[in-house]
């Protein structure tokens, strides 16, 4: 019994809820005795209790509910009418069920609750003199399980009803039969009624189907309700408003600095966030809703193509907003069909390549950084870069020049361009060239992105990045002219501040603005110019948001970057949609409306600028000496010096308030994530004076095997991925050499020494990897 404890507990809770429902239903039924709907509901409740009690071997409960069920089924099917006597009998039954449940709850057993008299009362109400009376004493003896299976199976043949009853309501006898079937001692009626089989054959199916679904259905029905989607939309909208209002209040309270009000606001803040999350959850559905149809798609398609494909699904339970789910359905189906059609090879081809004959298609869904990622991965032929390039050329999607300076990843992305298809022959499945660009457009419409990653001969992975919900998105707010604009975060790669003093600048190539980002030319789009606003004269002290859309990267020049926040997307009216540059509007913290920029449309507008930059890039590529090692380096500023730290040695960048730096003996430490983190100032290590006195200091945190150190620098300048043009072993204490990076001499930090200076035991605690570090 102990291991059953949980199940029984659950059964009790569920049954009590069901009984409460039952009481209400029975009372309502008295008001409206003819309501079959109500009767069906009551019937299902009793049926559920009966089913579970049979499973848990509470025989008295089972027989009692069984008798009730028999009466109810007759009432429901119209075989007899509800009258006060049957209402009393049913209420008495409910009371007795309650008593039994109480007994089970207290003692774990059914105790000595009297059920017979109630059963007699209930059966007396069944307006059939022969069957019920015959079996009134019988039920008790019956074991539960066989009865259930038998009643289900033998329902139709065993119709004990007299002929008079049968033609009137063909379904009724079928239900009543269950009572008879309970009693093995009375096999006679079953045989006698055999001729009745043919007649009720059709209706039988109905209750049978009902029965199989009911046990599970009812319990779900009890804990869930159906809600109009419009209502959820309204709720979502209201919560959106609440979030905005909350933001305004939080802002206002900060200015007042009243501790009581601040606490209340803090609480309002929390509650609003939780409410928002809960309401969003109500609209969430597992992705399985759209995945469930795919096994069939894959099976049929692979069959017709003579391929063998196993479909694996991971993360079925990953949830998405239902409107997004709907939007993702078609693109996803297309990608799956495409993978089966073009990705996975035929059995012979696979075997010839030494792969198992059966291909595997894996669907994976998971959450990552406020987005849902859906991957469609096959172990097929992979995308042939050469062929993509050739096709793109043939179809005029790109020019030879453009192709010449594309990385293979960019070339593969060409499959998303309109009018592209690499299929050798057009099949009825895919290959009409209307596929991938439509997939891309559909996904981008809901604020998502599509990527593809492929290894020739190994397989292809398509990756959809989808926002969790349409209504609320992460956005970067920027300022340009007098207005604020929001940019969906999903398209933002990075932010660059063009500091007028550091010598970085926006350059021009045949009139088109470009920026040198880690050695590559980034085409720029000036937001003010694009929007027809007064253009500012100076290129100094502006921000560049590096955006990604339509397979191109470009920089959007804005006056100021404000922050990243969650915004509630409001659809645009028809007259605003026509403008084309905006994806929606939103209400920002101070209650003003801000427009959401449509990155893809900005990218299209930047087309000309991009072409110019590409031409320039080509020239530059040709002039640049080939070879040399590519390294990713973090450039830090220390005084007048530039120091490079390999990016591998950077776990995290932090900003510490100066007053939080404390001392342990002669060393400096800072409290960081519940640890004491040793700190070394690179300025003192490298022997320059730390002239820069500000409230916070940027620090490079390096973590290995749970030990961390922080290297405090004066400023983080950039992260570069560059050919190191000139390298020298000219070094100084604490350096491993120097190099020319971004046309400036940059010192290469001896990171190991720096770490040891901060924490002498950093490596000794990890002796097993010391050797490899020495080699580094």
């Amino acid at each position: 019994m102990d291991e059953l404890g949980d199940i029984i507990q659950e059964f009790l809770v569920e049954s009590h809820e069901n009984l409460d429902q039952l009481d209400r239903d029975l009372v309502a039924l008295e008001q409206d005795p003819g309501s079959r709907e109500m009767l069906s509901s009551i019937f299902r409740t009793i049926h559920t209790i009966k089913g579970t009690s049979g499973f848990l071997a509470f025989h008295r409960l089972e027989t009692l509910t069984h008798a009730g069920e028999s009466l109810l089924s007759r009432l429901r099917d119209g075989a007899q009418q509800m009258n006060p006597a049957s209402a009393d009998a049913l209420l008495a039954m409910v009371d007795t069920v309650r008593k039994l449940l109480e007994s089970i709850e207290e003692t774990g057993g059914e105790g000595d609750v009297d059920v017979e008299s109630v059963i007699a009362m209930v059966t007396a109400c069944i307006e059939d003199p022969s069957a019920p009376k015959a079996e009134a004493p019988a039920p008790e003896a019956k074991p539960a399980k066989p009865a259930r299976s038998r009643s289900a199976k033998s329902k139709a043949p065993v119709a004990p009803e007299p002929a008079a009853e049968a033609p009137k309501a063909p379904e009724a006898p079928v239900k009543a039969v269950e009572v008879a079937a309970q009693a093995p001692e009375v096999p006679a009626p079953a045989v006698a009624a055999a001729p009745a089989v043919a007649k009720p054959a059709a209706p039988v199916r109905e209750p049978a189907a009902e029965e199989s679904g009911q046990n599970t259905k009812r319990s779900i029905a009890d804990s869930s309700i159906r809600v109009d989607v419009d209502l959820l939309d309204t709720l979502m909208r209201l919560v959106g408003e609440l979030v905005l209002t909350r933001n305004q209040i939080v802002r206002g309270v900060n200015d007042i600095s009243d501790p009581v009000l601040a606490r209340t606001t803090q609480r309002l803040n929390l509650i609003t966030s939780e409410l928002q999350e809960s309401v969003m959850k109500t609209r969430m559905q597992p992705i399985d809703h759209i995945w469930s149809k795919l096994p069939r798609v894959v099976r049929d398609l692979s069959g017709s193509l003579g391929k063998q494909v196993a479909l694996a699904m991971e993360g079925k339970e990953t949830e998405l907003d239902r409107s997004l789910l709907e939007a993702v359905k078609d693109p996803l189906t297309h990608l799956v069909r495409n993978a089966v059609d073009h990705g996975i090879e035929t059995v012979e081809e696979r075997v010839a390549k030494g792969k198992p004959g059966q291909g595997t298609l894996t669907l994976r869904a998971y959450h990552e950084g406020g987005h849902v990622i859906v991957e469609i991965k096959d172990d097929g032929a992979g995308i042939d870069v050469e062929r993509v390039a050739q096709t793109a050329l043939d179809r005029g999607v790109v020019t030879r020049d453009q192709l010449a300076r594309m990385e293979s990843r960019e070339i593969i992305s060409l499959v998303f361009r309109p009018g592209f298809s690499t299929a050798k022959k057009v099949t009825n499945v895919s290959g009409r060239g209307v596929g991938m660009d439509v997939v891309k457009t559909n996904i981008e419409q809901i604020g998502g992105t599509v990527d593809v990653d492929s290894t020739l001969g190994k397989g292809t992975t398509w990756r959809l990045t989808i926002p969790l919900t349409l209504a609320i998105i992460q956005a970067l707010t920027v300022e340009c002219g007098a207005e604020r604009y929001a940019i969906p975060q999903v398209g933002v790669d990075e932010l660059v501040f063009v500091d007028g003093q550091s010598g970085q600048a926006i350059e021009h190539v045949s009139g088109a603005p470009v920026y040198r980002l880690r050695g590559k030319l980034l085409p720029l789009v000036r937001l003010d110019e694009t929007l027809g606003l007064p253009v500012r004269n100076s290129d100094r002290d502006v921000y560049i948001a590096v955006l990604q859309a339509d397979g191109r990267r470009f920089g959007l020049v804005v006056d100021r970057v404000l922050n990243t926040e969650e915004i509630v997307v409001k659809p645009l009216s028809g007259r605003m949609k026509d403008v084309g540059v905006y994806a929606g509007s939103t209400i920002v913290g101070d209650g003003k409306v801000a427009l959401i920029l449509d990155i893809a449309s900005l990218a299209r507008r930047s087309h000309l600028a991009a072409e110019a930059a590409e031409r320039a890039q080509l020239d530059q590529v040709d002039n640049r000496p080939r070879g040399g090692s590519i390294e990713r380096l973090l450039i830090a500023g220390i005084g007048e010096r530039r120091v490079a730290i390999p990016l591998d040695m950077v776990t995290r960048l932090e900003e510490f308030p100066v007053e939080r730096i404390e001392r342990v003996g002669s060393r400096e430490v800072v409290q960081y994530r519940d640890h004491i983190l040793p700190v070394i100032r690179l300025a003192s290590l490298l022997g320059c004076y730390d002239v820069h006195e500000s409230e916070t200091v940027p620090a490079v945190v390096y973590t290995e095997r749970g030990r961390s150190v922080a290297l405090v620098v004066e400023q983080i300048v950039d992260i570069v991925e560059d050919h190191i043009e000139a390298r020298s072993d000219l070094d100084d204490d604490g350096l491993t050499g120097s190099a020319v990076i971004q046309q400036r001499v940059t010192e290469l930090l001896d990171v190991r020494r720096a770490i040891l200076a901060a924490d002498p035991r950093f490596y000794t605690e990890m002796s097993e990897i010391t050797n490899s570090m020495v080699g580094a």
Partner: protein, 150 residues
Amino acid sequence: MPSRQYATFEVADQLFGVDVAQVQEVLRFHEYTRVPLAPTSVGGLFNLRGQVIDAVDLRVQLGLPPRDLNVPAMNVIVSVDDEWVSLLVDRIGEVIELDDEAFEPPPDTLAGAYRNLIVGTFKLQDRLMLALDARRAADTTVPVPAAQHA
């Protein structure tokens, strides 16, 4: 005698009226968000209790120079095709009840921009009121040439 109620307002000293049933509310507002590249008749967007409302500059719709939105303007919010739109006007008048008898079709001499938006005229005691077709008044796609930049 069949009659109708009109909410009246003034633009450039001319009295206009729209069917009161179409008017949701009237309010003074001053923080508009400009929409670059939109037709000049779109004065801007504003937040009305969480709803983003387009404000249409009736002056532009009537062929007049645009309004200075840095000073507060009166908004007559009308419901057009289930969407709320604000018509920016100079001054709000009274709600008046007019007999259909006082109605006359617009005079033939009425100039282009006006003619497009006016369904008729009502003769009041001391002046004329032009009855405005709210849908056409809120339609920014027709009369004004789009995008001044390109």
